[in-house]
Symmetry: D2
Subunit: 374 residues, 4 copies
Amino acid sequence: MILILQPQVDSESAEYKKLIAALSVLPNIQVRTHQVLGARQTLTEIYLLGDTLSLSIEDMRSLPCVERVVRVSQAYRILGRHKDDLRPTAFEYNRVRFSQDDLHVFAGLCAVDVRENVERMMSLLRDNGLVCTRMGAYKPRSSPYAFQGHGKTCLPYVFELAGKYGIRVIAMEITHESHIEEIRAALAQTGQATGVMLQIGTRNIQNFELLKTVGRQQDFPVLLKRGFGITLEESLSAAEYIASEGNSRIVFCLRGMKTNLGDPHRNFVDFSHVPVVRRLTRMPVCVDPSHSVGTRDKSPDGILDILHATAQGIIAGANMVLVDFHPVPEQALVDGPQALLPSELPAFLEDVRLVRATYEKRRALFRPAGPNAS
Amino acid sequence: MILILQPQVDSESAEYKKLIAALSVLPNIQVRTHQVLGARQTLTEIYLLGDTLSLSIEDMRSLPCVERVVRVSQAYRILGRHKDDLRPTAFEYNRVRFSQDDLHVFAGLCAVDVRENVERMMSLLRDNGLVCTRMGAYKPRSSPYAFQGHGKTCLPYVFELAGKYGIRVIAMEITHESHIEEIRAALAQTGQATGVMLQIGTRNIQNFELLKTVGRQQDFPVLLKRGFGITLEESLSAAEYIASEGNSRIVFCLRGMKTNLGDPHRNFVDFSHVPVVRRLTRMPVCVDPSHSVGTRDKSPDGILDILHATAQGIIAGANMVLVDFHPVPEQALVDGPQALLPSELPAFLEDVRLVRATYEKRRALFRPAGPNAS
Amino acid sequence: MILILQPQVDSESAEYKKLIAALSVLPNIQVRTHQVLGARQTLTEIYLLGDTLSLSIEDMRSLPCVERVVRVSQAYRILGRHKDDLRPTAFEYNRVRFSQDDLHVFAGLCAVDVRENVERMMSLLRDNGLVCTRMGAYKPRSSPYAFQGHGKTCLPYVFELAGKYGIRVIAMEITHESHIEEIRAALAQTGQATGVMLQIGTRNIQNFELLKTVGRQQDFPVLLKRGFGITLEESLSAAEYIASEGNSRIVFCLRGMKTNLGDPHRNFVDFSHVPVVRRLTRMPVCVDPSHSVGTRDKSPDGILDILHATAQGIIAGANMVLVDFHPVPEQALVDGPQALLPSELPAFLEDVRLVRATYEKRRALFRPAGPNAS
Amino acid sequence: MILILQPQVDSESAEYKKLIAALSVLPNIQVRTHQVLGARQTLTEIYLLGDTLSLSIEDMRSLPCVERVVRVSQAYRILGRHKDDLRPTAFEYNRVRFSQDDLHVFAGLCAVDVRENVERMMSLLRDNGLVCTRMGAYKPRSSPYAFQGHGKTCLPYVFELAGKYGIRVIAMEITHESHIEEIRAALAQTGQATGVMLQIGTRNIQNFELLKTVGRQQDFPVLLKRGFGITLEESLSAAEYIASEGNSRIVFCLRGMKTNLGDPHRNFVDFSHVPVVRRLTRMPVCVDPSHSVGTRDKSPDGILDILHATAQGIIAGANMVLVDFHPVPEQALVDGPQALLPSELPAFLEDVRLVRATYEKRRALFRPAGPNAS
C-alpha cells in the first residue's frame, strides 16, 4: 500500500509527525519513506509493506498529510483471481455444476403463494427439462404492512414437490440465520428431496453477521445479490466475508442498481458488469433480469425488455439466470405483473440457448492461443 | 389508493379483465371505477378503498393497464404526523428527554480501543457538562479483514466508567440481536451504571429482522441511521418497522448519502432533510456530521467543515448531534483522523449553543399565532 | 393531464382558490373537477383538457393542493411512436440508410491528430468494407488547459481522404453553431467528397440554442448523445427540440451514465435502454461502447469489455455502433488507450456480424404473427 | 503528476514500452522513473514534471500499465487558492462589492411575465432596502413546448424599472452568446439604468463555447451555476474556463443536485459545499434555495424549507442568496408555486440578518490568532 502525501509536506511539521506516529503503531507493517525532488516541488510517498490487507484505504486516506492511497496487493484474497492461481473455479452441488463455464436457468416463483401454483411451476420446469428454480418463502418488504412471505410453513410442500418433479436446486432467500435451520429441518423431513442455494438479498448485502453465518456452514452454497447504494468493490468484499468464514461456494448476482437514471426500468440494469466480476473474481455470475427491468414492456420487435436484458447478460458470459415466472401472475402476491407466463417459457429457453451458443462462438473467436486458456 | 390507467384503455380487453381479476381478490379492499370523457381521450381510474396500507405501490403499478398509482392515505401509520394527532412526540430515557424540541450532543469515540481512552473521553464529557456519548463496541466494516470492534469484552468497563462520570445515555451500534442481550447483561453486571440507546447503522437499515427485534424490546430506545442507496421514504418505512413491533422511542439520524456528487466530502451531507423528517414524522432528528463530512478540512474562516455541517443541522432544528472525538486520534482504530480533539470540545459546544439559540430565535420569528403551536 | 389533489382538500380553502385561479388563466385549457367520496376520505381530481402539451408536469405539481400530476397525452409529439402511426421510421443520407432495422459501424478516431493517422484509418475502413466513420475535430474537454481538437484546420484533408477511400458518412461532434458553416464550407471546398452527421455531445444535451440550430438546417442528420445527470425522458425531450425545428433525421446515442455505481468502468453502461428508446421513439439507436466502458480490460474469456458492451447493444437491437480505433493509440491525443487497434478490426466486425445475425434470429423467434409487423 | 503503475510491471514488456513511447512524445514534459523493492512486490512510479497542467488524469490513467494517477499541482490555476497567494478575492460591480466576506440577497422573479409584476417586485425590493434582484428573460426549459421566456422584448422595461427603483445588479440567465449583445443594447438604450450579472445555468455548465464567450467580455460579471450530473471539481473547472479567457469576476452558485436521493425536495440540497468552494477557490459562493428545495412545504416550527435551506447556506458562510419571489405566484409562468410572497420578504430578510450575524459570531469564535487572517 502506498500513501501519497500532499505536495510540499514538511517533514518537521506537527502534522507529519502525527502521521508517522500513527503508522508506527500499525501491527506487522513496515514503513518506508521516499522523497522525490521534482521540477516544481518535492513529493513524499510512504510505502506500507507487510500485512497491509488489514488496513482500510479509507482509514489511511484520512491520516494527516495523505492525499491518496493506493493498494497494490489483491483485494479479494480468497475469491479473487491471482497470478498463477490454480485453485478450482467450479463447484458441484446436488449434481449440478456451477462455474464460470456453465449456464443455468433458475425460473420460478418470486414468492410462494399456494401449493397449487408451486406444483404447476415445478411441473412446467420438468416438462421443459429444467432442474433448478427459485422459490421465495421469506420476503423482505420495504413496508412492515406488506405481505412478508409464508416462511417455514410452506417449506415442506415446496421441497416435496421439488423432489417429485426432479428439481435439484432451489434458490431461496433468507433474511435471518434461523431460516437456515428451518430449511435444514424441512429438507430432512422430506428426505432431502431437493437442494437449496441460500440467497442473500440486496438489502442484506452488508448484514455482515448473516454473511458470516452462511459462511460458517457447508451444507448450502450461497447466492449473493449485489447491494444497491454501494460500489461493486464493496459488494464483492461482502462475498469475501462469506468466503473468509470457510464457504467459498458463492454465486454473485447482478440485479440492477437503484437510481432514477435507470427509469423507466425499475432499476438500472448493470449486466455490463458480468465480465468485470468474472475478471476480478472466480465466482460464477448470475443475472436477475426480472428485478432489474421490473416491467413486461416490450420493444417494437416483439421482444420483452426482460428477454433483452437476459440476452445481454448471456452474450457477455453470464452463468446463471434468475427469472420470475408465475402460472397465474394476477394472483401473485409479490411482483406478479413482472412475471413471465408458463406459455412463454419454451421461447424464453430457446432464446437463452440461441444467445448462449453465440456467446460460445464469440469465445472461440477470441480464445487465446495457449493450450489451457479458460 | 388510486390506480390511474393508461389512456384509451378498452374495458373489453384481455389486459383490462386481468387487472380487474387481480384486484377482485385483494382482501378487504373495495374497488370503484371511474371514467372521464375528455376532449382528447377517455380516462379510467380505479379507486381502492379499505385496507390499502397492505398494498405496495410498486406491486399495483405493475398490474396490467396501470400507468400511475397514488396512495392517498398516510404512509407512516405510527410514527407519522396525522391531522388532529394529539399523540405525544417526546420520550424520556434514563432522565434524558428526547423530542423535536430538545437538543443533545452525543460526543464520543467512534470505536472503543483501550480503557484509558474511554476514561479520558468520559472525563472530558463530564468536565464539559455533557451526559450523553457515543461508544462503538461492534463495528461493521466493509472488509472482513479490517478491525471489527472489541465487542462485549469492553462493555463492562465502558459502562462502569460511564457511571463514574455521570453519563446517562450511550449511543452504541449493534449488528446482531445477540448484542442486545450482551448489553443488557453488562448493564446488570455494572448495576445499571448508565443507559444505552441501540444504534442501527446505515448498512442494516433494511435488515428487517434486526429492526423487528429492537422493536420488540422496551428496555432501550433506538437510534436509526438512514440508509444509503434507498429513498428517504424507504428509510422512514424502516423506522416504522421498529414501531410496528411496539417500540416507538426512535431517533432518526441523517448521516450523509453515498454518491460521488458529494465529493470531496466522504458522503453527500443531507441535513436539508432535517425539516422534512420533522414534518413527515414525530421522531426527533439526529445529525452525524463526522461520518457525513469525513475530513478535518476547514474553510478559510478557520471553521472545520464538520462544524459547518453541525451548524447547518442545528439551524434547521436538529435535535441531536452524533460526533466523533478522540483523545489521541492518531491511535484510533477506526476513522481516527476525522475525530475532533479534546481541546476542541469547548468551542464546539459554544458553537452549538450559539446556533441553537439562533434557531430558537428563528422559531419565535415564524411561530404560528395559535396558542398551542409547537 | 390530471392533477390529483391532496386528500381532504377543502374547496373553500384559500389554497384551493389559489389553485383554481392559477388554472383559470392557462390559455386554451379547459378545467374539470371531479370529487370521489371514499371509505376513508374525499378525493379531488382536476382534469386539464386541450393544449396541455404546453404545460410542464413540474410546474403543475408545484401548484397549491396538488399531490401528483399525470400526463395522459404523448410526450414526444414528433419523434414518439403513436397509435396507428404510419409515419416513416427511416431516412437516407448520402446513400446510407438509417432506421430501427439497420446496423452501421462507425469506427474511427476519437480526435483527429495528424493527416497520416487519418489516412491510415480511412484506408483500414475501406479494406474492411466500411463506409462510415467517426472523426473528432472539435473536442470539448473538462479542463480549459487540455487539448481542444484541431478544429476547422483539419477538415479539408479529413474530407478529402474520406472521399478517396469511399467513406460516405462521418460522425463529427460540434460544440458551436459556427462549426456547421465551417463543415459546410470544407465539404464544398472538397467537392462534397463525403457526408457528415453532426454530433451533439453529452455536455451539450441541454444547450437548447445549439439543438435548435441543428434542427433548423436540413443538410446534415444529427447524432444526439444522451446527457448524464438527467433522466432518459429529458434526453429524449432534447431530441424533440431538434425535431420541433424541422429536422427529424436524428440518431439517439447511448454512451453510459456518469455515476460511481458503474466503476470500474468509466461510465455506467446503459445499453439496457436500447429497447426502451426504440419503443418510446422512432429514432435509430446508437451505442458508444468506447466511452461507456473506457478501458481495454478484458475478461478471462479473452474478450475486451468494449466488445462485450458492443455485443450487449447489438443483441438488443442497436442500429449503430460508435467505436474508437487508432492506428497508433499511444500517439492519440485524447482517450487513446481505450482505442481498439487496426489489427483488431476484422475480429470486431466478425463479432458484430455474429451477434447481429443472432439478434435477427431472436426477432424472427418473437415476431408478432401479423402481416405488417415491424 | 505521478503515474503509479500496476504492481510487478515488467520493464521489458511490450505494454511498458508502449507506455514509455507515449510519454516520450508529450510536449514540455520530463519523465522520471522510480522503482521500489517491497516485501511483496516491486513497484514502479513515473513522475511527469513540467507542463503537466495540459495533461488529463483520465487520459494518463488509460495508458498501458497505469493503475492510478495523482496530480500534485493546483487544479484551478486562476481561481484557486494557492500558498502565499496575495491576489485580491473581491470585485466591485456597479457599486456593489462581491467577495467571500460579503452577503447579498438577490430576490426577484424566476421569469419575467408582465411589466406590472416587474414593477411590483422592484418597488418591493426598494421598500426593503435591497439593490440586487433576479429577473429571467431567457428560460431554458426541458420541453420545447414549454414557455421559453420573453427574451429581449422585455429587457427595456425591466432595466428602466430597475433604474427607477434603485436596483444596481440584476442576475439574468443567458443561453446564447447573442443575448449578451441584446443586454448590452438594452442597457445602452435605457442609459445604463442598472447593471447585469450574466447567469450561466446548470444546463450550460459544460457549454464551453458560451463559457469562453462570457470569459472574453469584461462588461459583466458572471454567476455560474453548478452542473448536475458532474462532479464539483468539473463544475469548478468550468468556472476556470471563464477565467482562463480573462474574466475572473465570477460568483459560483450551488443549486442542488438532481438525484432521487434528495426527494421529496426537487433537488438534493448541496449547501454543505459552501465551505468547500470557499476553500478550493477564491470565488464568492451563492446559494439558490428556491430551485434546490422547489416546494413551499414547511416544518412544524412554521418555517418554510426554503428558509431553512437559506439559513443553512448562510450559517456556513454563503455570500449571495438567489431566491424566487412573485407578487402573484399563481400567475407566474415558471416555477410560480415555489415563489415566496411579497408579504414574506420582511421576515425572510430578518431571518437572513439573524443568521448572518450568527455566522459572523462563529467566525470570530474560530478566527485564527494571526493578524491578517481572513
